[in-house]
């Protein structure tokens, strides 16, 4: 096996859309505590777009994890770029609530009729082939225990967690 094969495989989620609003308006919704709560739909502690600022989101607990997502602003360039760390979960969990050490990056760029908003949520460690399902049979019961909360919230279109 070479080095690349031994490394954990991480992947990103990308959502990229154009909004018919100015970058300044979008920046405001991404960085104002009261507005964040309205679109992100998770209770959050006071947010400030300042490098180093720590804040949290409260989601549904799972196992030994209290459901708190710990964030820290890594970069904030007004109307252009906002980056924060997004960490949570616990080693003892499988699936929902497992260890999570990721980064959320928002990039705003002015386009003809508004703003292109690009979200990159990076650093997801994907289970390697095969072993995922072996460990899953162990964690099967845990997954089922978490199902109720996940599916119920999805149903009532509340936050996914």
């Amino acid at each position: 096996m070479n080095d690349a094969a031994l490394k954990s495989d991480t992947q990103d989620i990308v959502v990229d859309e154009v909004f018919p609003h100015a970058p300044e308006t979008i920046w405001k919704t991404l960085t104002t505590g009261e507005l964040i709560a309205r679109w992100l739909m998770m209770p959050t502690t006071e947010f400030e777009p300042a490098k180093g600022k720590r804040f949290t989101f409260q989601t549904t607990p799972a196992g030994a994890w209290d459901g708190v997502i710990h964030c820290q602003v890594l970069e904030a360039t007004p109307n252009e770029r906002l980056v924060y760390a997004w960490k949570g979960g616990h080693e003892g969990n499988v699936g929902y609530g497992s260890r999570l050490d990721t980064v959320v990056t928002w990039t705003l760029s002015r386009v003809e009729n508004g703003t292109r908003l690009r979200l990159v949520h990076s650093g997801f460690v994907l289970p390697k082939n095969g072993t995922a399902f072996k460990s899953m049979s162990e964690g099967w019961k845990k997954v089922v225990r978490n199902l109720d909360s996940i599916a119920a919230e999805q149903d009532s279109s509340k936050p996914l967690h």
């Binding site: 989620i13 507005l35 679109w39 699936g95 908003l117 997801f124 199902l147 999805q154």
Partner: protein, 109 residues
């Protein structure tokens, strides 16, 4: 994004509390028949059969016919879309973008 579509299907299927209860009973037993699932469930056998069809369609269960009985068991692959954060967040962020669009329309018509 096929993975996201699958998460949606699994979520939709399990959003129904009765169906979720049926699924959880199947998970807890090695194999189980419709008659066994109906007993003590408080729902009719035809209702159970309908839930079984939905669960099978979503890839959550597999069946094994034997004589006049059909045995159902959980298909571990079926929950795969739910086991990683990435699949969950793919749906999460897409929903949040929709919220953001609605909110922006409100504050900046």
């Amino acid at each position: 994004m096929t993975q996201t579509a699958t998460v949606d299907a699994v979520m939709r299927t399990l959003a129904d509390p009765t169906r979720r209860a049926v699924f959880e009973r199947i998970v807890k037993s090695e194999e189980i028949t419709v008659a066994e699932l109906t007993r003590g469930s408080g729902v009719t056998q035809s209702a159970i059969s309908q839930h079984l069809r939905s669960l099978k369609q979503a890839g959550l269960i597999a069946d094994r016919p034997e004589g006049r009985n059909v045995h159902y068991r959980a298909d571990p692959q079926g929950l795969a879309p739910l086991v990683d954060w990435m699949a969950l967040y793919a749906v999460f962020w897409r929903d949040r973008f929709a919220n953001l669009r609605t909110l922006l329309k409100e504050i900046d018509p």
